[in-house]
């Protein structure tokens, strides 16, 4: 008889793989991406294509010529980083800025730590924040959504709902009229980064990820619960202008800016988030608090990227939290 294969148990595998998880996240992002293309036209398409291509190219080049190791582009994580980076950029960003962002995301934030699984900070967010600090003018010029009528280079621009709200919060109540209607916000008819506009479809994508067991509920739910609570307290404390009721402010806080994209797709990045359930919950609460502090008192209208990056730095510490062991008694 021929030789038998021998190995220790288990001899069975779930069939899960890194590539499969990445692919499912990409699929979950596609509906929201379709809305982006519908709202922002060719700009959304061009920016995303450049970002994804640049991320994959940089990862391949760095693996081959600098690290001299086997290419890992097959696991699709570079594709996902490129997609998420693009989702965090204005749709009319000049192409060369997009490429710089991709280089920082892949080259600095990911590959310099040793590639997938080794990085401390979310690569796409590092790329975005680098661009935000280096090119503040281009990174905060938001095209007004006009579908394919929105041109890539010379788009008409306007304020994002969060920027309008920020001004309203600090005294000039009249700016609230610049905040779009709730329905427009849900379907994505508002200014903002190209991928963050459709709150509804991002939420649907997040629920899809929970259903397919790619992520668990802990991080997104704790972020959103914290944000909602914080917004409600702001309302009760009488910090809102008269024309905004507390409920409306809670909804606006949850559905505008990078909230949905950040909570469901960026904060849940495996590599840079804690691993145990309690760690994830604390991580989410931390993000929720920081983002609302920045939105309320900070210099920027939006703080999702900063909040996630700050909590990324805390993830190794949060990993010290031990899950509840079987049969463990509560300490008296």
């Amino acid at each position: 008889m021929k030789q038998l294969i021998v190995s220790p148990a288990p001899h069975f595998h779930s069939g899960d793989s890194v590539r499969k998880n990445m692919l499912l996240v990409i699929i979950a992002l596609l509906p929201a991406y379709a809305v982006s293309v519908w709202q922002f036209g060719w700009g959304a398409f061009i920016t995303t294509a450049i970002s994804v291509a640049a991320c994959v190219l940089f990862e391949w080049l760095i693996a081959k010529y600098i690290l001299k190791q086997k290419s890992t582009i097959g696991d699709l994580s570079a594709v996902l980083t490129g997609l998420l980076l693009a989702f965090n950029l204005p749709s009319n960003l000049p192409w060369w800025i997009v490429i710089i962002g991709a280089l920082v995301a892949i080259g600095v934030a990911k590959m310099s730590f040793g590639g997938l699984g080794q990085n401390i900070f979310n690569p796409a967010l590092v790329g975005r924040v680098f661009l935000l600090i280096s090119f503040p003018a281009q990174m905060t010029t938001w095209p007004v959504p006009q579908g394919f009528a929105t041109s890539y280079v010379d788009a008409a621009t306007g304020a994002t709902p969060l920027a309008a709200m920020k001004v309203a919060l600090t005294g000039s109540d009249s700016m609230m009229s610049a905040v779009p209607e709730m329905w427009d916000i849900l379907i994505g008819k508002m200014g903002g980064s190209l991928g963050e506009v459709s709150a509804l479809l991002l939420l649907a994508g997040g629920i899809f990820l929970i259903a397919t067991r790619v992520i668990t509920w802990h991080i997104p739910v704790s972020i959103m619960a914290t944000v909602a609570l914080f917004a409600a307290v702001t309302g009760w404390a009488g910090m809102l202008p008269e024309s905004v009721c507390t409920g409306e402010y809670v909804m606006l806080s949850l559905c505008t800016g990078g909230m949905m994209l950040g909570a469901w797709f960026m904060a849940t990045d495996y590599v840079t988030s804690p691993m145990s359930n309690w760690g994830k919950i604390i991580f989410g609460v931390g993000i929720g608090v920081i983002v609302m502090v920045i939105r309320t008192w900070g210099a920027y209208p939006e703080g999702m990227s900063f909040a996630i990056l700050i909590m990324n730095a805390c993830a190794p510490l949060l990993n010290l939290i031990r899950p509840k062991r079987f049969g463990e008694k509560k300490k008296a």
Binding site: V18, K324, E328
Partner: protein, 447 residues
């Protein structure tokens, strides 16, 4: 909502379709047999026969080597040819009795009729003595001598007998079939054990993928006071002793403790059937039902195999080794062991033979850990497999002990679920062996 254990667990495809509902078939007698003297946890049994001696089926051929050990009886009639070492089904060298099989002559004291003996007229001591005499060990896989469990240490009392009809390992169907064919005998066996333990309550845990067994056992149990059937939600490793106790009575056995700590005694249905046979029919444990299965096998099924039968004969009965076989597993795919060859004799431990095609036999290429935390979510003991495997890699034994490595039940959930295909359990198992040795050495030094 059906009950289940509260921490971790995974949902492997159960793959029971190949051999489910196949009637239990007796395996024909071989011409020669090798009976290993280590078929249980504890000290090896000591041979009490000599070369050239003639034995009948059921005769004691090796006596338990201590309290935690088990008797071994002749599964066949014939002549002892030698007492020597052999290599058992796991590739371990061990003492064994070799014999030539001649006819099928049984001891007269054994009741071989098919009639069910329902009369219960033994006192607890007599039942435990019979169980010990018959060499009964836990047939769920651990092979812990059953009589030891029936004698709780001083200061501890049993409250409930938990009967393991879960069979959570994918592919295996022998316990399921045993419940369908010998349900009534199992109920009588449960009554015997309840009497031996002096308790009034027993719970039979069966997973929801065996609705006919749940129905059958519920109907039988309804006629007896104190026995309840609990349908459990499908989740691996529900058949693990601690997990099953948690699922059935919502009590968690503390780290390092035995089930008796929370008042539970757990026995597998196959073990209980053996108890019935030993007490009511005077028949020692000389055979067990094995599931022989696999996608490409011609006749997968459930076979009653006497210990010492070469596994090749069992395989021949199931249609021979399939052409595409890459791996043969003794037991189920989650916790069973891969065999290096199948010429070895069957024993009390081998609950099944699984033939995996070559394509499913090799592990996938490993990639970097992406810190997804799925292993933590899957671990039924609440451990951190990713961390333990890294600690083992770096020989951080003290840290491993501190992170409760010794709680690991080696169920394989972590490795099953890892998207990076990391050999988590390999490292954890290695670390566990090392840390276990350190702990034992420390205890010995402190004495």
């Amino acid at each position: 909502m059906k009950a289940t254990f509260r921490i971790g667990g995974v949902h492997p495809h159960d793959n029971k379709q190949y051999s489910v509902h196949q009637p239990i078939t007796e395996c024909p007698l071989p011409a020669k047999a090798i009976i290993p003297l280590v078929q249980h946890i504890g000290a090896p049994a000591q041979a009490v026969v000599e070369k050239g001696q003639k034995v009948k089926v059921g005769e004691l051929i090796a006596k338990a080597g201590g309290f935690v050990s088990a008797n071994i009886h002749a599964p066949f009639s014939g002549t002892i040819t030698k007492i020597d070492t052999t290599i058992d089904a796991w590739g371990m060298k061990m003492p064994a009795i070799f014999m030539d099989v001649e006819g099928d002559e049984w001891l007269e004291t054994i009741d071989r009729s098919k009639d069910i003996v329902r009369k219960l007229d033994y006192d607890p001591k007599a039942i435990i003595d019979k169980v010990q005499e018959a060499g009964i060990v836990g047939l769920g896989g651990a092979c812990f001598p059953t009589h030891v469990k029936l004698l709780p240490p001083p200061g501890k009392t049993a409250e409930v007998l938990i009967v393991n009809g879960v069979e959570c390992e994918p592919y295996l169907t022998c316990d399921h079939q045993l419940m369908l064919e010998h349900g009534e005998e199992i109920i009588i066996g449960i009554q015997l054990l309840m009497r031996a333990l002096n308790i009034e309550k027993a719970i039979i845990g069966i997973e929801a993928n065996k609705p006919d067994a749940i129905k059958h056992m519920t109907a039988l149990a309804s006629k007896v006071l104190g026995i309840e059937v609990k349908a459990l939600k499908l989740k691996y490793p529900q058949g693990g002793e601690k997990q099953l106790i948690d699922a059935c009575i919502r009590r968690q056995v503390p780290s390092g403790a035995l089930p008796i700590e929370v008042g539970a005694v757990v026995d597998n249905v196959a073990t209980i059937y053996a108890v019935y046979e030993a007490v009511q029919k005077n028949k020692p444990l000389i055979s067990r039902v094995m599931t022989v299965t696999g996608k490409s096998l011609a006749k997968p099924g459930n076979y009653d195999v006497r210990f010492g039968t070469p596994l090749t004969e069992v395989v021949a009965l199931a249609g021979g080794v399939p052409e595409d076989t890459g791996k043969v597993i003794g037991g189920g795919p989650m916790m069973g062991r891969a065999m290096s060859n199948i010429d070895m004799p069957s024993n009390k431990r081998v609950s099944g033979l699984l033939f995996l095609p070559e394509a499913e036999s090799l592990r996938q290429e490993i990639t970097n850990c992406v810190r997804c935390g799925k292993c933590i979510g899957a671990c039924p003991m609440g451990l951190e497999p990713w961390l333990l495997s890294k600690q083992a890699w770096h020989s951080m034994w003290d840290e491993m002990e501190d992170h409760n490595i010794m709680d690991c039940i080696e169920c394989g959930c972590c490795q099953f679920t890892c998207p990076s295909h990391l050999p988590l359990l390999d490292y954890v198992r290695m670390g566990k062996a090392k840390v276990g040795g350190i702990i034992r050495a420390r205890q010995a030094a402190n004495k």
